[in-house]
Structure formats: structure tokens, C-alpha cells
Symmetry: C2
Subunit: 331 residues, 2 copies
Amino acid sequence: MNAYITRTYGLDAQFELTAVPTPELVTGHILIEVKATSINSIDNKLLRQNLGINPALPAILHGDVSGVVSAVGPNVDSFHVGDEVYACAGGFKGTAGALADFMPADAKLVAHNPASLNFAEAAALPLVVITAWESLMDSANIQPGEHVLVHGGTGGVGHVGVQLAKAKGARVTTSVSSEEKAEIARSLGADDVINYREEPVEAYVERLTQGRGFDAIYDTIGGATFDHSLQAVRTKGRVVTVFTGTGSTTPDLLNAFIKGATVHTQNMSIPLITGEGRAHHGKILREATKLVDAGKLKPLIDPHRFTFAQINDAHALFESKTHVGKIVLTI
Amino acid sequence: MNAYITRTYGLDAQFELTAVPTPELVTGHILIEVKATSINSIDNKLLRQNLGINPALPAILHGDVSGVVSAVGPNVDSFHVGDEVYACAGGFKGTAGALADFMPADAKLVAHNPASLNFAEAAALPLVVITAWESLMDSANIQPGEHVLVHGGTGGVGHVGVQLAKAKGARVTTSVSSEEKAEIARSLGADDVINYREEPVEAYVERLTQGRGFDAIYDTIGGATFDHSLQAVRTKGRVVTVFTGTGSTTPDLLNAFIKGATVHTQNMSIPLITGEGRAHHGKILREATKLVDAGKLKPLIDPHRFTFAQINDAHALFESKTHVGKIVLTI
């Protein structure tokens, strides 16, 4: 089969079209004929740095996939040849990624595509849905009526966070960097929007919570945004933070201690690397399929569309940070 | 009435016997004829530093009290004159402390003494029970059968943490600094004991959890112990940390991010300072009274006993860090 492989990790790493053997099917796995993938922050980070969780070189990167089941291994009951499926199923140490004609996937990680989405749209969702679900539902355990602040409401994880929090019945505020993005955030269901370049933390905490602070804050940005989150959370509130690799790992927790706050860290790659807890990912995607088909969750996709042959250009756009939502690629 | 007041905060601050007006009784409050108090870390810190939450000077410090109800204000149904009670009811900004003949207390914060304890024993418990309860039950939400590591198992908060975790049905490991303290920790119910001066983190994680890590860790020490906690916790585990004022507020969270772990901070003084959430403290103490009278919780009290007239000596012992468990004083 053809694959877009990576021969080195680093700033000058590129994807290169190469013929490689088609993966063998093992127990509990399916083979997916790849139709689309999307770029997540971790895919780009694995390309640019060796984080210790990178696949062995030469590597096939990218976690998110949507496609058609082309073969089913032993001990798989829930999928059949021809099923349209999506997953975040590989691209880490020990697992093959989606930048190829076929991707092997542990069936536990996979769900059937939402009927209302095409392959490109479905491929935008897996990693960000799993990340936001684990953050908001599992860790912060947000409740109907709570006031939840999602930082970065038009970003890959943030736009799903806004919609999941709304679907749960929370009041949702989100932060963005422009009036154009504020419009998009409102269209996703955000009740209130903060332009973080124009409004200081104290001002929006006063304006939106009468100084009390938010019940739960989802920091999808890191760095200074994490510090702002500890300022803006209420007494005994919860902050969920995604390590983006750009912020410090030694933030000042003094505001957390003063408030008796909780800091949840989020790392959705653990089941992919350790093998433990994979069934929970499949379950989250089955729930996501229901939310999508009920009209409560939709992917936000950047207008620049790419084919797999343009994978290097797609990552260049990702690194430019000028995109909105997810960057998707079709084969 | 007589009180042991503090006229300055700082390294040379002393307690001084002085006649002051007896507190006036306000709605929802009771007046407690003080029989005993105990020293908590925060009492000593408030004496030595102005933390921004100190009472106005001259101040009456100390939160923990046990005594006899001498007067009952309007809108108090649950207590009557002559009742024996205990609480952590003041000694912070805006509230009078226990180092006096009488202490006013919001009735929401108060519970009836355990029948099986004398006043000195009861006065050892309130702050540390509330702290450990909020940490283990409310924040970490420990479950029967989970493996819980409590750092500092013969300390003020730690010795209660060990017993509460056992009462909940957890497997409890604790860390101590000597074989003598290990014996005490076992007598409190600890299943396994670590001498942290002799056994490295990797070694006890392997010995006690086969390398998997502890489900929940209660860091009652701070500083390097917090770093060790992030090393020793399992994937998606929980660490509860009490800000002791001695450790850094900027620990490295990299191990938390790698594991997707949660960090709960614990600050039991918030209801005393803000007035919000006080009823929960009274409820915890009512539960503690049941556990004590059922033989599942007992205070660990240093053999050096003091009267209120020896309050300066008692704080000197506390600062020497040679004591075990709680230092108590009777009037």
C-alpha cells in the first residue's frame, strides 16, 4: 500500500509518499480503508520532536481516521466489512497511523460514523471529542446549570468543549481572539464570549460571574491561559488543563491553594500507548455519534481543504496558527 | 474574660495574658466556655507571618476548641447551655479564636463531643478531621479497596487521614521517618509503612503496587513530598496536597500531565473566612463523632501536655518539629 511516511523527527521533517507492506490483521483488530484524517496538535508535535512516545522510524503518523472496514480480525463482533467507522487509533509508539491506504485499529477504539457526516467531517472529531469528553465529563464532571468557561472556543478541542458543555446543560462562556471568532463561537452555542485580547481576567469574572468565579474552566491553551484559569475559577472550582507542550510545566499554584481548587490534567494518548482503558474511547465515540446525529455536535472545519498528497502544506498551515477549528485531509 | 492575645505577627511574636471584653452573642452563634484547644500548623503560621487572612491585632488565635455551651444566640436549635461541643470555629480574619475563657462560634461549625473523649482529646480533632475528610472523601473521593498512600502518618492531619481511609475500606500505606513512628502508624491501622528516609520512591512503588502506582495519594507535607507523590501516583490517579507554606507553589507538573493525573488542593479555612459552606464542617464533625464512638477514629496526642498559661512553650515545641500527632492545651 502507499503511505506518507516520516523518516526523521525534527524541524525539517517532511512526509514522503512511499510503498510499504499492508499491515497484518491481529486478534481484536480491524483494518480500515482510510478515507480521511485530520491534524491534531499531538500529530504535529510528534513530527517536530521526539517526545518519547513517538513511533519507531520510519513512521506512519496521524491518529484520527475515518474510512471503511476492509477486514475484521478474530474476536471482533461489533464491526463488519463495509462499515463506515471513525477512531483515533494510532500514530503513537507501537501503533501505525492514518497517513496510509489502510490503518489497523484495535476495535475497542472504533465507532460507527455519524450518519449525518461525510468522511472528512467524521475524521475531524475523534481525538478532540475524546479529549474534551474526558476533560469535561470524566474529570471536571460538569453538571447542568454550572457555569463553564472553555478557553479557545474556535480551536480544535475548544469548539467541541463548547458543544459538549452545552449538551450537558451548562451555561457556557468561551474565550476567543477576534470578533469573527466570537461569531463562530456563538453559532456553536456559547452563551457568552470573551475577547481575551481586550478584556482582563478581573473584568470578565466580574461581568459574567459577579466576581464569584467560574465553576469549571477548560484550559485548552496552556501557558498564561492556565494562570488566568486559576484566577478566574471559583472557590473549590475545577480547572482542566491540556499540556500543549508550549506552556511551562511549573505554573504557580498559589491561587489554586488559596481557593482549594482542583487541577485536572488531560492526556488522551495513554490508552493508545499502554493498551489500558481503550474501550472507554470507543464508548465516547459511540456517544458522540448520537450527539452528532441529534444535531448537538458538529465539527468546525477550516475552509482550506487538503488531499493526503498535500500533507506537508496542511502541516504548514497548522503551524501558521491562522486556521480555525480542524484541518482535514481526504485521500 | 481572660485571653492569651497576640499584639504583633512575626518571628518574635508571643502570646500574652490580658483581660478583654467577653464576646457578644449574635444570631446563629453560641458562646463556648473553653476547656481545651490544640495547635495546628495554620495557628503557628498566623502567629509568625501576616498571610492576609490573619485576625486584626490585637488578636485571639487558635481555631480548635472543645468546651461547654454557656449561651445560645437567636436561631440556634441544635445546641443548649451545658452541651459539650467541639469545633474549628475561629482564629482567622474576622473571627475570634480559642485562646480565651469564652469563644463565640457559628453554630453551623459545631458538633457535640464524642462521648468517649475528654475535652483535651476532642480539641485535638476538629481542624485535622475536617481537612482530612475534605481531602479524602470530598476531593479524592476514595473508594473501598483502593490503595491510598498517606504521607506523614503520625502527623496532625496524617494520623487522621490514615484512620479515615481505613474506615472507608481502602488499603492504606503511610510514610514516616522512623521505626518508632512506623509502630504508631500500624497501631492506627496502616496496612503498610514506608520509611521515606530509607526507601526511594521507585522502590516502594514497585514493592507495594508492582510498579502500577497508588490510586490516591494524600500529601500532608508539601515540597519534595509533592514531587514524590506525582511520581508514585498511578495513571489517572489523584493527589491531594495541603499547602503548608514551606514548599514551593510552583512544583513541576510534568509527571501529572504524562499520567493525566488530578491535583486537588486543600484549604479548610475558606468557610471560616468567607462564611460560605460552614454547615459542611459541622456535618463532618458529627460524622467524626460517630466514628470516634465506634472505635474507628482516635486522636494521636503528643505526650507533652500543656495548660493555656504555657501556650508559648507549646508553640516552641511545635516549631521544634519533635512532637508526634497533636499538641493539646487545657485551660
